[in-house]
Subunit: 111 residues, 2 copies
């Protein structure tokens, strides 16, 4: 689980890979189609695709000639859940502080 | 913005740094306190803190002796937004497919 998160976040830490994921979120595409908007060689794109594939974020078709890439958004759930967990813990901290201040006010009133 | 996302996701791609963030989400802590649960030297922890600081995810206090670390959750918003964008685009793809199938069924009924 932790290793999966390492791979997911590392895969997301690159603008080309994020652009590839954004494209694939709209539907599957071939490597040539994916390479089109970038000023990059096919081998350079293939390298990025391998990182995404190892992170489980894309699935490649089996047809040797035309291996379309498809998004697999499942690893994104764990990544989003973790970020949400941090934010919630952070907000709860302020809620606790708020409760504490209310307790102080209440004590002050009852003096 | 894109460089910020690079730094945010790269910072999240490590289990020690995620554990540090989880700890700081509950409240600020000194480097010594942060190092406690890990079998790691203080310099190793400091290295991780520098990565988190460069990503804008933590703020260090100015007191030279006791420089407490504090979470700054703002970069997490952009990271969560991006992941959400991917997931929404992916879901919209299925909504469009669903609409298309409904149109086909409708045409079939009216034959």
């Amino acid at each position: 689980m932790s290793q999966n998160l390492d791979a997911t976040f590392a895969a997301l830490a690159d603008p080309t890979r994020r652009a590839i994921l954004a494209r694939l979120a709209k539907g599957e595409a071939s490597v040539t189609e994916l390479a089109e908007p970038f000023d990059m060689s096919l081998p350079a794109i293939s390298k990025h695709l391998k990182v995404l594939e190892r992170a489980g974020l894309i699935i490649r078709g089996r047809d040797a000639q035309f291996r379309p890439c498809k998004l697999d958004p499942r690893p994104l759930d764990a990544a989003a859940d973790l970020i949400e967990k941090f934010r919630r813990a952070w907000e709860e901290r302020f809620d606790r502080l708020d409760d504490y201040l209310k307790t102080l006010q209440h004590k002050d009133k009852n003096k």
